[in-house]
Amino acid sequence: MGETLTNGHTQNYIGTRTIRPDGVDKVTGRARFGADFNLPGQLIGRVLRSPHPHARIIAIDT
């Protein structure tokens, strides 16, 4: 429990190794990132890159 410093004080956090609170979820694959959600009616954004450099966008055919 804790780390004893040279001045005799015991610290609970400073100087100790801690396990990150979201670590277990991340190493087990349980952590849910934005891309892991799939909701009804969800809209998905895509990047459409222009094949032309320095061109003016007239319209985007969706």
Partner: protein, 158 residues
């Protein structure tokens, strides 16, 4: 065209699903089987975030089609811990702070496990070579390599 009817074994469980010809194994795992631990980083086999094993062989699931896995055995990150008991690799990744954002972590763990099954006592060079197909953009590789070495030592003790 009709969808393909596929039967496979995922993390020891028999599963069956329907998939389109162009759907990747990663799409099937994430969208059909709801196993979202495997991540899509690039979709082109460069980053290793979607690593799984197929009949024991390490593959990028974004480069395998769903209809290719009929009758085959797949292991993903979700099958690594046994209930609440973490695999030694998972435990060491935590202790060595070998992860930050966690997107690459499932791929690194699956790939490292495949390495240790073949090479129980890998050198640092062998670890770095084996994990060259997995990219991490936040933690860096030193902590990951030490975590794998430490886990290998634990697993050799039994």
């Amino acid at each position: 065209m009709a969808k393909h009817h596929i039967e496979a074994v995922v993390n020891g469980d028999a599963v069956e699903f329907l998939c389109e010809t162009e759907e990747t194994l990663l799409d099937v795992l994430r969208d059909t089987l709801n196993l979202t631990g495997s991540k899509e980083g690039c979709g082109s086999g460069d980053c290793g975030a979607c690593s799984v094993t197929l009949d024991g062989r390490l593959v990028c699931s974004c480069l395998v089609l769903g209809c290719e896995v009929d009758g085959r055995r797949i292991e993903t990150i979700e099958g690594m811990a046994k209930g609440e008991a973490l695999h030694p690799l998972q435990q060491r990744f935590l202790e060595h702070a070998a992860l930050q954002c966690g997107i690459c972590t499932p791929g690194f763990l699956v790939a490292s496990k495949a390495l240790l099954e073949r090479t129980p006592d890998p050198s640092e060079h062998e670890i770095r070579f084996w994990l060259a197909g997995n990219l991490c953009r936040c933690t860096g590789y030193d902590k990951i390599v030490s975590a794998v070495q430490d886990a290998a030592a634990t697993m050799r003790k039994g």
